[in-house]
């Protein structure tokens, strides 16, 4: 594979920081490769241009560096530690003076200020006063009472419900009977009326239909006849006109023919007359 210098090699060669084999190789490559040579020449001329920027003259100002070492309490890390410690101290003091108490007991976190007061425990005393049997008895009593009250209220409501149902039934059945009777009577009369009405209506409709139909047909046929007679008249007129024009043209033609024959005859006569007179003269 042909040797091709990298960007790094080019830079090293440009600044003359290359020696031995590598330098020889790149020089050989440059001899063979004109574009690379031009590229390098451009970089050299760029360097030449850059060389035109001269250093600025400057006078070093006196630099004073303090001899003494910084005391340890001015060191930044010391300051940080001290500030953290001071803030912790402040927090602790505030906690102390405000009587802050923080405790975790029986899955319960308590944060409190001041002294804790013992809470009166009444439930314990009640528990101590009543035995288990007594409690059971009380529960049973209350349950029995409750059951009784419930039972009585149920029976009462049951009675009320029964009474209301019976009353409702009687009222509604009488109403329904009445309604049924009325409806049956009414329906017979209505059917009769309806059927007779239907018949008359039908008759009327059929009559009307036929009347309308016959009058329409009449009108239509009359119209048809009139149109047909008009058409015939028109046709006749047209035919007559055609015959007339044809007759006229025939007449014209015969006139023309007549004139032409007359002309021919006169021309013949004149020619015959002249030839005769010429012959006679001779």
């Amino acid at each position: 594979m042909a040797y091709k210098p990298s960007e790094q090699d080019l830079m090293a060669y440009l600044y003359d920081e290359m020696e031995g084999e590598e330098k020889n190789a790149i020089e050989k490559y440059l001899l063979e490769n004109a574009t690379a040579r031009i590229e390098l020449d451009k970089l050299k001329s760029l360097r030449g241009m850059m060389g035109q920027v001269k250093d600025k003259e400057v006078i070093a100002p006196p630099i004073f560096v303090g001899e003494h070492q910084q005391p340890f309490y001015r060191a930044p890390y010391f300051k940080t530690i001290i500030s953290i410690a001071a803030s912790l101290l402040v927090v602790m003091l505030v906690g102390k003076f405000s009587g802050l108490q923080i405790g975790y007991h029986d899955q319960e976190l308590k944060i409190s200020f001041g002294e804790t007061k013992a809470q009166p425990v009444q439930s314990a005393t009640v528990q101590n006063m009543l035995s288990e049997q007594e409690v059971q008895k009380m529960i049973n009593n209350s349950l029995a009472q409750n059951n009784q009250v419930m039972q009585s209220s149920w029976t009462e409501t049951q009675k009320k419900l029964d009474a209301s149902v019976v009353w409702n039934l009687t009222v509604s059945s009488s109403k329904i009977d009445k309604l049924v009777k009325e409806s049956s009577q009414a329906s017979q009369n209505q059917i009769r009326e309806f059927v007779s009405g239907m018949q008359t209506e039908n008759m009327r409709l059929v009559k009307n239909y036929f009347q309308l139909n016959s009058s329409e047909q009449k009108q239509y046929i009359e119209g048809l006849l009139v149109d047909f007679s008009k058409y015939l008249q028109q046709q006749r007129n047209d035919d007559l006109q055609v015959v007339q024009t044809q007759l006229k043209s025939l007449e014209n033609n015969t006139d023309l023919f007549k004139q032409e024959t007359e002309q021919i005859l006169t021309s013949i006569i004149t020619t015959v007359g002249t030839s005769k007179s010429v012959g006679a003269r001779n």
């Binding site: 830079m11 920081e17 451009k42 001269k54 250093d55 630099i63």
Partner: protein, 209 residues
Amino acid sequence: MTETLLDIAMMHSDTLIARAKAGDQNAQGKVVQLWYKRIYNFSFKFFQDHDMAMEVSQKTFISMCKNLPSLQENTRFKSWLYKITVNYCREEVRKRKGSRSLSFDVVWNREAEDSPQWESSTQRFDSPERQYQHRELADVLQEALIELNDEQREVVIMKEYEGLKFREIAEVLNISENTVKSRMYYGLDALKKILERKNINKETIGYGL
């Protein structure tokens, strides 16, 4: 780059550094005198701002005097000093990005107030036209330099104007030598493009005539 007496003195300042390291204030003062111009010019080319360059230089030398005893090898003094400078330069860039204030030099053209350039110019015997051309080209090049990104600018200035070797730059920036060379290559390439855009080349400036 032609070597001046100052450069030679800088190259042979091992004993001076050893004395400065030992706490000799006189030696420290001499080291500052020796290196101030270099550090100032590096910072000036980096920022294009006299005040910033002065500030960075001052900070660098104060830090140098304080931390010189912690320098392990005297031979690495040069890269160590540039490392401090580069760090302060970066710090200033960060500060500048944080506060979007307008540099005073933008409003007040300090250059115009200074004494004319030809007074200190090495080409004082050149024709005025030639002097003007040089000055203009220098300005354009400085502008082109400032257009490079920070990483490329650091490398280009250290290599081209401060004459550090690629190995030394790698040490200063704590990166590999190949990375330094790559940055240099792309820095030069970018400079070339910037100058082409500004229509500056050998012919237009009459360089080398």
